[in-house]
Point group: C2
Chain length 343, copies 2
């Protein structure tokens, strides 16, 4: 009898160990995407592995819009900018006839969105320059806790992908340092990334405006200038990574062609002798029911070239519908086609 | 008898605890500077303190030249640049008549040094642009392990201040995150700061050139361009801190007027309600025997305005001769005037 009890205890322990190992990625179905992630992480973190990577070099970079949080029906930062333009419009009568402000104030968000991230940066520069970093920080903190997503009615920080939160946490428990590398504004993200993603301000890379330091009435002040410092998108992403991180990541996750250069920079060997293990991940928006479905023809988050290249480069394409059993933290777990093998 | 043994054991334990607490700063004499540092650190890290600062906000920034390593008889990066100019001169016949290259090749280092950090950046841009980040990294790694300081004959990474290494380590054990914020080139420092200071590449802020990303013959390449991105000196330091760290430090250490803005940014309250504890430290070069003695009239590392302001701002001025019993790691411990009170 005692032997049976012991055996049972061992079995339970064994099961518990398996559960613990799987637990970090519970919102991922038992499909190839999850397996590829876990295989890679074990390959670079297990002491005996020939591909072991020291903790200091375990740099993982994540795009934000469409990769960590949603980006439909418009980039969330654009929604923020719209609210700011409306709030500031009384002081800027010239905006009534000046694009992209006229379209924006007229409610033609599609026309504004069509101007892309560069257009977005113009609006940001025009509406957010000439104020201090502290003032901007306070404005973002206020907006992020009050504004609501037009479709879900949720606060924007709730529109994050639960599986990606789990992936960030999983990588960190495995000794990775996680960074955001986004085309979005660096100061737009910093006020909430630590709380929402567990990523501190010093690990946020994004598009930025130039700044000016001065003592104003004896008080130190940093002012945001109406001059772009870096567009952290496309070929700007590897530049932003080198500027802020100073070493090449071994893991990169994105969702659009804006992330193509970052994925290439992270994963393509630098020469015949470079055999170091690399991981590229693309979040593909395939779920019109639980989120949105868009890729090659989308104005926002267009995924075309990077999707083609994923095949030749061996990047893991996450099919949201197949690979995730939950999309948003507030949503219920949804067993889906890809989950048939799991209990 | 057993009671005595027990008492003895307690005494030894108590002594050991005291030793452990003091040990991190053994190269510091028991003078006011050390006491001020320890008092501040305990004030912001002890759980019951009204001035407790959460670990995430314990950001400490350090200038490099003259603060963490020596800067005489010329900025070490200038010595590196001199060696690079000499190596590249055969390919640049025009440098024979073009300043500051002509002076440099003619051995008139004083004339070159007089051009200041901006002149240094010109030389850097001219000699280091048009090569890849990887190539530059390899060049620095090679130089830093071979080149020798003209006075000491030591490798440059040995010309670091032992008390400052101890201070960096002490702050880190107390939950601080340590950053370098230097007028020197960011890519010149990154190849060795982790090994020498325990500061990883992503916590190094410095002057920088713009970069360009491309696939060259299918291989990802970042090239350094001949265009300055940031001069991380004077008013550029708070800008560099915000760009890279994204929050205001609570501890800043420098040694020259180039660090004045960083010290102001770190320590001056932002308003009447800002009562958060702040620490400013200035390393004053007062020891011509063990290191160098220079301040108000020096071309390199001039310390004039910041020294005056130290009094009104309450910054701690470290008198190298009085406050340090050892300067370089390779040097012997030297009991000095300031150490008379210690055993």
């Amino acid at each position: 009898m005692r032997h049976l009890v012991f055996l049972f205890a061992v079995l339970r322990l064994s099961e518990a160990a398996t559960m613990t190992a799987a637990e970090p990625l519970t919102s991922w179905n038992e499909t190839g995407a999850k397996q590829a992630i876990v295989n890679f992480v074990e390959r670079v973190t297990e002491k005996d592995s020939p591909d072991f990577v020291p903790p200091a070099e375990r740099i993982a970079v994540f795009d934000n819009d469409g990769t960590l949080w949603a980006e439909q029906p418009m980039y969330f930062q654009l929604a923020f900018a719209v609210d700011r333009v409306k709030a500031l419009a009384p002081r800027h009568p010239e905006w009534k006839t000046k694009e992209p402000f006229a379209s924006l104030l007229g409610g033609d968000v599609t026309a504004v969105a069509a101007s892309g991230e560069k257009g977005l940066m113009e609006i940001i520069a025009a509406t957010h320059a000439g104020i201090t970093v502290d003032e901007f920080d306070a404005t973002v903190r206020d907006w992020i806790t009050t504004a609501r997503h037009p479709k879900s009615g949720r606060r924007y920080v709730e529109m994050v992908y639960q599986p990606m939160l789990e992936l960030l946490a999983y990588l960190r428990t495995k000794g990775f340092k996680t960074f955001i590398v986004s085309g979005g504004g660096i100061e737009f993200m910093r006020p909430w990334t630590e709380r929402v993603y567990g990523i501190p301000p010093e690990q946020v890379v994004g598009s930025s405006l130039k700044m000016k330091f001065e003592l104003r009435d004896g008080v130190p002040v940093l002012t945001k200038l109406a001059e772009v410092d870096l567009i952290d998108d496309k070929e700007g992403k590897p530049v932003g990574i080198q500027a802020h991180v100073g070493r090449r990541p071994i893991f990169a996750a994105g969702n659009s062609d804006g992330d193509l250069d970052m994925l290439q920079y992270t994963t393509i060997p630098r020469g015949d002798v470079d055999k170091s293990p690399r991981f590229g991940l693309i979040v593909r928006h395939t779920d019109a029911d639980r989120e949105w479905a868009y890729d090659r023809d989308s104005r926002i988050g267009r995924l075309d070239k990077a999707l083609d290249e994923a095949k030749t480069r061996g990047w893991t394409v996450v099919d949201m519908k197949r690979d995730w059993n939950r999309v948003f933290p507030f949503a219920e777990r949804t067993p889906s086609a890809g989950n048939v093998e799991s209990p």
